[in-house]
């Protein structure tokens, strides 16, 4: 298991979490009709070999969506934070 240190629940198995994929892709505004912007957001991924910022929801815990920085080669986790405070 990856062991993800949820900022409010502590370190847990990743099986308590739901994966949400790349957290660096920018979601267009909801009324943005630009097909290309949406195409890039939905489909195109940098897919780095190395550090990856990604969403995980602690779905069987506090239900918060988190942003995790994790190495895709070593699986070591560098940081975990709430998604909301990322934006604030």
């Amino acid at each position: 298991m990856l062991r993800i240190d949820c900022p409010c629940c502590g370190t847990r198995d990743h099986s308590e979490f739901r994966y949400g994929g790349d957290a660096t892709v920018e979601r267009p505004a909801c009324d943005n009709p630009d097909l290309d912007a949406w195409y890039r957001y939905v489909y195109v991924r940098p897919n780095p070999k190395g550090l990856h910022r990604e969403y995980w929801q602690h779905v069987l815990g506090c239900r918060q969506w988190l942003v995790v920085e994790r190495d895709t080669v070593t699986h070591s986790i560098h940081s975990v934070s709430f998604s909301r405070r990322q934006r604030a």
Partner: protein
Amino acid sequence: MVETLSAKRMVLEQLPCPLIQCDAWEGTFAAFKAALAREIGGALPTQVGEIAGRGGLRVVRAGPRRFWIFPSERSATIASGIPPELGCRLDLSEGRIRIEVSTPDLRDVVSKCLAIDWDRTLGVATFSSLHRIPVMFTRFSERDGEFVVPRSFARSISEWLEECQ
């Protein structure tokens, strides 16, 4: 289920679980906390998992902006005065079952249920996964604990606990 000698070592009881959930909006948490503290008449737990109790009321911090209030009985009034501009209240008193477990093998049983460090469960509300089901576990002693589980899974979890003994 196979009747084993051990099953009798475990006392398992399913009980109703009155519960009020209170959520703050982002940016209103301080004012919300103050309002909620006034509503229930006392300080709120600060860490997620921390339990604050007074009288028949237990308050658990269930998330960064979420509290779970466990009254001893259903109540339409608890926390009903939170101003809507600060947050909201949701009565969840029907959807959960409290499973109280008492057994000398509690540590062993819990190790087959939760990927949680036993030494960190005493007196703390732990939100975790039991067989992929969201549960809240609290341990009161070496042999007594409770699982708050979704009602629809209560029977399946009870059987699981009994068979893990």
